[in-house]
Amino acid sequence: MINFLKKQNFWFVFTPYFWLVLFFFIPLALIFKISISVSEWGMPPYRDMFSFTEDGLSIDATLSNYLFIFSDSFYLKSYLNSLNLALTSTLICLLIGYPIAFYVAKSKENIRNLLLILLIIPFWTSFLLRVYAWKVILQGSGIINTILIKFGFIDQPLSMLHNHYAVILGVVYTYLPFMILPLYGYLVKFDLNLIDASSDLGAKPFKTFFKVIIPLSLPGIMAGSMLVFIPVVGEFVIPELLGGSDKLYFGKIIWDEFFVNRDWPIASALAMSGIFILVIPIIIFQLLYAKYHFKNE
């Protein structure tokens, strides 16, 4: 019996362990290796790091790819553009999403379930098609321009597509459910009597909101913000469909370095720097936050 349990446990740990090491960890290690390799013309387009020469084993590693991307303001700017985009849209999602999540969570149960379904429907619809919908709307001959011209507000169609604001709009729209759903999850468990208690004790609604409601929904705010912020930094599709040439973003330049310039070492160095600058701080932050939250509970 114990033997069976041991055997079962062994396979339960070993199978996913093996899969993730093979298809997640090794590929990451590989792009790290390529990111410190020397570019070369050929296939694959980089020099093998280890080579045997007459003098024995020679190791050809270089930091030049990293130096290159950090010395060129082109790459630096695209990082900043992506961070800016992620930060702005996370904040807007929070500002729009919070009241919606709050009021849905506070509705009566039968209405609440219906509203919840209505929130989830856009979330299930294809991501790509939701971005595309904005392309249709913001077109020069799109619905907004048509209405504005018809009512005489403007003579010429406004160009609303292919700029940074269209990208922000697209991001806010597609990622809004990711903000609302975790917020709702926390707010629905929230005891409404606490609001009454706070106002009975003489707190103004404003104070109740900032001193009672916000602190208690902080885990939801954090979870929602993470779900929006992280993927938006690497976002490729939305800038590609709605953005213009005025701003380049991190996801787009990795794509172009790989598919257009075919410079594997630079693309890998960009990806690795993304991991070092972004992913690792986020993982550390989440660990610290989990610890802090656990302590306070």
Binding site: Q8, Y17, P44, Y103, L129, Y132, K135, S268
Partner: protein
């Protein structure tokens, strides 16, 4: 009196936010649906009501084939990802001795915070290198897309299973054990039924993730493995496509039907 004004104010605020919020969520989708009935090759110029683009859509072999490939990859990926995800969730909650446990946790949770463009790039370079070294995978195609989709979906399933397992009372399992039930039976008769709803939602999430993925699939795809998002993206990258409008309406219809079924099943359950 003041109370009534305050209450009116509250109701007004509530309906204001909810109306604006839902209008924002639904306006783009409804616009797409409306334009899908436009009988004009130029998407934005209204010519008249017709089902023309639905007909074109069902005659478009490229889209139909891509749809079948996407469904196939998504269902396989969801099934394997659920299997692996259940194993991870179970291991993390129930198995105390995991070799290099922090590394295991890192592996099973960091795909959640990894931008898909980095994931796609690393997997593609991995497939190319392993093809050079051992000849596997022999070419990029449906298999490489499937492997990639399983890899990034596992973490999502694992989180769902893990939270379900850690929130339910372990004593039930221990009671069964004290009563002499075999571990095998405990797993299938107690643990599995308890986590079944989470398994189903994990599978559905993994299915949606795979069906919706463009970036990772674009990196790892090859001949004969153009998934629906890849085909749609190539159609709308430079312009608009009336067939894609029709496709959006059909997807929307399915989603609404699924949501309605879910809502009514859920409601009758609650009433019981």
């Amino acid at each position: 009196m003041q109370n009534i004004i305050l209450k009116m104010n509250k109701i007004f605020l509530k309906s204001f936010f909810l109306t604006i919020g839902f209008a924002f969520l639904y306006f783009p989708i409804l616009t797409l649906i409306a334009y899908s009935f436009n009988d004009n090759k130029r998407v934005m110029v209204w010519k008249g009501f017709s089902f023309r683009w639905y007909g074109e859509l069902f005659r478009n072999e490229q889209i139909l084939e891509a749809f079948m490939i996407s469904i196939k990859i998504a269902s396989l990926s969801a099934t394997f990802a659920t299997l692996l995800g259940v194993m991870i969730g179970y291991s993390l909650v129930r198995i105390p001795k995991i070799p290099a446990r922090p590394f295991f946790i890192f592996l099973s949770s960091s795909p959640l915070v990894m931008p898909e463009i980095i994931l796609g790039l690393s997997l593609l370079l991995f497939f190319i290198s392993s093809n050079h070294l051992i000849g596997f995978p022999s070419s990029k195609g449906q298999l490489t897309v499937l492997i990639s989709h399983i890899t990034f979906s596992v973490a999502f399933v694992a989180v769902i299973i893990q939270s379900r397992l850690s929130s339910y009372d372990k004593n039930i399992e221990e009671a069964a054990q004290d009563l002499g039930t075999l571990p095998n039976k405990i797993f299938w008769k107690i643990t599995a039924p308890v986590i079944l709803p989470s398994i189903i939602s994990g599978w559905l999430l993994a299915f949606t993730l795979s069906l919706d993925d463009l970036v990772v699939a674009s990196f790892t795809t090859g001949p004969g493995a153009n998934t629906l998002p890849i085909v749609v993206f190539s159609k709308v990258r430079l312009g608009l496509s009336p067939e894609v409008n029709a496709l959006s309406s059909i997807i929307m219809l399915f989603v609404v039907i699924a949501a309605a079924i879910y809502y009514f099943v859920n409601r009758s359950n609650v009433q019981k």
